[in-house]
Amino acid sequence: MEKVMSNKKIIAIYVLPALTLILALVYIPIVMTGYYGLMKWNGIGSMEFIGLTNYAKLIKDPMFWTSVRHSFLLALFSVLSLIGYLLVALVLAGQIKGANLLRKIYLIPMLLSSVAIAQLWLKIYHPTNGVLNRFLASLGIDNTPEWLANPSLVLYAIFIPILWQYAGFYILIYYAALKNIPSSLIEAARIDGANPLQIALKIKIPLIAGVIKVTVILAVIGSLKYFDLIYVMTGGGPNGASEVVASYMYNQAFNRLDFGYGSAIGFFLLLMCLVLTWLIRKLSASDEETQYS
């Protein structure tokens, strides 16, 4: 038995296909990204080694830091919205009729492609014929804003569909975690005279702390690498007002054909995601024991 299940040849046959793919198409490329960041390169012609020039340029590039700030702003909004999603899940996981149907409805936007969502919201935000401004006009507001053309509004106008897209996902995760709490615990607290608010704050939320940590990581990492909807809706514009790190990387590489600089941005994005994941795990390590499974 022991011998059969540790046959090296068979193990290799089973693991190597998947391992080769992930090494060749995920791990080697991310190392190459760091390496290409040291090059002057238009993507097709020959490369020229220029050392840390791209990385130095990155540090001095105000547009890059603007995109970093926008990405972090999106992360902040996403994490704050988790509070709302948790609230919805807490109510939903109480004995509500139709909870099952409701959580399924919440999830619908997440199943749709970002392109379809982006096109739909482009129409919603349309300055004259969009449903939003027509609604505002019907309330008697005359100077309805041009949501996506106004540099001070565009970023927030884009955050809304992103939060809309993922709301159901987080509500669903919280709901599943809350449903996993044994009812005897809640029952015991109720007998001890705890009110619903106390039960939520002192029992339910601590018990799902592990899941909350995971959602915070997902929301932060997801926000930092967010791309599709912003790229389709505004391409980062007007004038960089909605540029995020991933869209800035894409624009520099594939639209301005500066692949060396794009790679430097891509490498920075990778470091940002890994460091933040590690940091969040580290900061919330003490919560580990309370995770209920």
Binding site: I22, L102, L120, G266, F267
Partner: protein, 263 residues
């Protein structure tokens, strides 16, 4: 509050459906949520017959199916070796797959583009099938992992005693009993691949191989001012997912939960 959230989640889609049945005159002058007096179903006929929607649609279907089957099969093989077999490097190898969950696709995009350019896979469906598979392996393995750990050891001991080979054990016993987990993983994969945008947009340039997401993006560009046609295109692109959701909603909900909470 709960119903309000539900309304917010679907209202934009209802509006989309309504304007897909209108002409511009009606879109701009009727109240947003009024149905037109005679629905313009011809918007749908027009976009389906005029452009390449049919081709994009077919590409999305077959590319999604091939990638999902490949991903789930390779992930099953790897998960089997990691959870059931004895070898020294299994912990670091599993770690390698799990760290893959945190890696943003954009950080690998430029080298992948240059790699596919070199080996002539740019504008070839294989480039997206392989990247979908590689990038979905971590999540798929994570979903399968929990299920594999619950399979009792006695099962494989009995099989081996009876003279079953490791391959026989995997193909005839393990694969059949992990069907539910594979289904869950397949559904999550399916949703990701169906909606994927960046890889197709970067690697594929000819209409012949574009999938629905990138296809509609270009297609909508042709109808910048015809709202009914744009609406119809978008409805066509989201309808398959909505129908699949109506039929498989429990599985999809379960798949999405399983794919996230276990992290």
């Amino acid at each position: 509050m709960l119903v309000f959230v539900a309304v917010v989640q679907v209202l934009p889609l209802v509006w989309l459906f309504f304007f897909s049945l209108k002409n511009n005159q009606e879109v701009f002058h009727l109240p947003p949520f009024a149905l037109p007096e005679d629905p313009k179903w011809e918007n749908y006929v027009k976009v389906w017959t005029e452009g390449n929607i049919g081709v994009y649609f077919f590409n999305s279907v077959w590319i999604t199916v091939v990638s999902v089957v490949l991903t789930v099969f390779l992930a099953s093989l790897a998960t089997f070796a990691i959870t059931r077999m004895k070898w020294k490097l299994k912990k670091p190898v599993l770690g390698l797959f799990m760290v893959g969950l945190m890696i943003p696709v954009h950080s690998a995009l430029i080298p992948l583009f240059s790699l596919f350019l070199k080996i002539n896979l740019i504008n070839h469906p294989l480039s997206i099938i392989l990247t979908y598979t590689a990038f979905n392996l971590p999540l798929t393995i994570m979903i399968l992992l929990g299920f594999y750990y619950t399979i009792p050891r006695e099962l494989e001991e009995a099989a081996i005693m009876d003279g079953c080979s490791v391959h026989g054990l995997f193909f005839r016993i393990i694969l059949p009993i992990t069907t539910p987990a594979m289904a869950t993983a397949a559904i999550v994969n399916m949703i990701f691949n169906w909606n994927e945008f960046v890889f197709v947009n970067t690697f594929i340039s000819s209409d012949e191989y574009k999938t629905l997401t990138v296809g509609i993006q270009n297609f909508v560009g042709q109808y910048t001012t015809d709202w009914g046609a744009i609406g119809a295109t978008l409805v066509i692109s989201i309808l398959p997912i909505l129908i699949a959701y109506l039929i498989l909603s429990d599985r999809i909900v379960e798949g999405i939960t399983a794919g996230s909470v276990k992290g």
